[in-house]
């Protein structure tokens, strides 16, 4: 292993490579999700075609939109807290970049491979709450303030079920390293049969559902989109933003959707790997180098599948009320995930 990325290159080259890789890993899923799901799938679900004029079948629409946003005036409200107002979108976007850093894309294709990966992932995903609170508070707008406070309450409430849902996976895999979780799934077996590995979606189905619901809430996608709620709060914490700063929020929203789908596919669907039994691999040292190319593609496919579900739910459902959402998190999701952890732990000891 370690031939492709590490070791041979000087530190600056490695860093540059990683930064470029990170940008690609964040922007490519975001762009694909926006075009494929937000523009096209949503339109088709609503009996229309969506953008058709920019490029063949509207495929260049995203670039047109970015161009449009870049041209717009960057407005700061007169009574806004200027510095915080300007930093806030970047904080939100930074959280996405921090998240993608621990996602493994192949046996050697990772940005960082450190032991407490899951812990780190859960920690940095909360950074975006800070950005949203900053945006809501500094905009000097009542709607933004309400939106920001709602976002904070919601994201904190849903952080907990997410953590608890992941704990089941950690117990089963016995490691907090995301790479280790991938290996544990693909090298695993179900009652002696290893044709499929052991993707944790089978054993941790409850955990998977809770995780996806929590992701939906973290992303403020529709059944949980009260912080944005364009019919109530105009656009919540994004009301006062325009031009490039709004674009930053927009990218962050969909890039985070992509990154969370990646993480969910790592945790529950086996990540970049194929079941090792297919090729008689036993450990990560046996995995051949071509997985570094095929792995990201597999990841991408799984991510698109999960993002499809996220977006599908988004386009079909009305939104909850804030108190209903809190009640749902504290009275349903958290008890269920606690029970899930208990059962997982018992079964882990029993088998």
């Amino acid at each position: 292993m370690n031939a492709l990325l590490a070791a041979d290159l000087p530190y600056w080259a490695q860093s540059l490579l990683r930064v470029l890789g990170g940008v690609v890993a964040v922007l490519l899923p975001a762009g694909t999700i926006v075009y494929l799901f937000l523009f096209k799938m949503m339109s088709f679900m609503q009996s229309r075609l969506g953008p058709m004029e920019a490029g063949p079948y509207g495929s260049m629409q995203l670039f047109a939109e970015v161009g449009k946003w870049l041209q717009k005036e960057d407005i700061t409200p007169a009574r806004a807290d200027r510095v915080i107002f300007k930093i806030a979108p970047l904080v939100v976007l930074a959280s996405t970049f921090l998240l993608v850093a621990v996602v493994p894309f192949g046996p050697d294709a990772w940005f960082t491979n450190f032991e407490a990966g899951v812990f780190y992932m859960l920690a940095v995903s909360s950074v975006s709450v800070l950005g949203i609170l900053m945006a809501g508070w500094s905009s000097a707008n009542k709607y933004s303030l309400l939106g920001g406070l709602r976002a904070a309450g919601q994201l904190i409430a849903y952080e907990l079920p997410m953590v608890l849902a992941v704990i089941g996976v950690i117990i089963q895999a016995g490691t907090m390293n995301l790479q280790g979780i991938v290996l544990a799934q693909n090298g695993g077996e179900i009652f002696g049969w290893n044709g499929l590995g052991n993707p944790y979606i089978l054993t941790q189905f409850t955990g998977f559902i809770i995780f996806m619901i929590a992701v939906q809430a973290e992303l403020t996608q529709t059944p949980f989109d009260m912080p944005i709620a364009e019919s109530e709060l105009v656009s919540g914490y994004m009301t006062e933003y325009s031009g490039f700063r709004f674009l930053t929020f927009f990218i962050a929203e969909f890039a985070t959707a992509g990154v969370f789908s990646l993480i969910a596919s790592v945790l529950f669907l086996g990540g970049w790997g194929v079941p090792f039994a297919w090729f008689d691999w036993n450990s990560i040292d046996d995995v051949s180098d071509w997985m570094n190319v095929v792995g990201p593609l597999i990841m991408f496919t799984k991510m698109m599948g999960l993002a499809f579900v996220i977006m599908w739910v988004r386009f079909s459902y009305p939104r909850f009320r804030e108190d209903q959402l809190q009640r749902f998190a504290w009275k349903v999701l958290i008890p269920v995930s606690l029970v899930n952890i208990m059962i997982t732990a018992i079964l882990k000891v029993a088998f």
Partner: protein
Amino acid sequence: MPKVPGLFKGLGVTLNTLKRTAIDGTNTVQYPHEKEAPPIRARGVIALHEGNCTSCMLCVRSCPDWCIYIEGHKEMAPPRRAGGKPRQVNKLDRFDIDYALCMYCGICVEVCPFDALFWSPEYEYSEPKIADLLHDKAKLSEWMETVPEAPALEAGAEKKGKK
């Protein structure tokens, strides 16, 4: 049959629509490339048959927002038959409709006693400047070509005596 929870039913509806749009095509029309034909009776634009107009001013007076401007003068025309007396005719100098004001109610077309005004389903006459929407009689007469025949009536209708 057990009751399907509404949440899944909703997902089913959107997925069905997705399938239907992909297979049967959309309900929308890609406007500049393909156009829908408006119905025959559609009130698109008012066309003027200049020869019929006698500048009687009925349409001007009945217009609810006074968007029709007519100016005319009397003129002696040569007699119809040789040896007859010269006739007095009303010549139309100006017939303008301000489409920025017009609310397409159709009262002028209805009150016109000489069949000089008609509805045409033509709809592509927008202008970048609002003042350019004041169309003169030359332009209004051009639209006369697009006026369709009145549609056939549904069974049981009584043919009306007048137009």
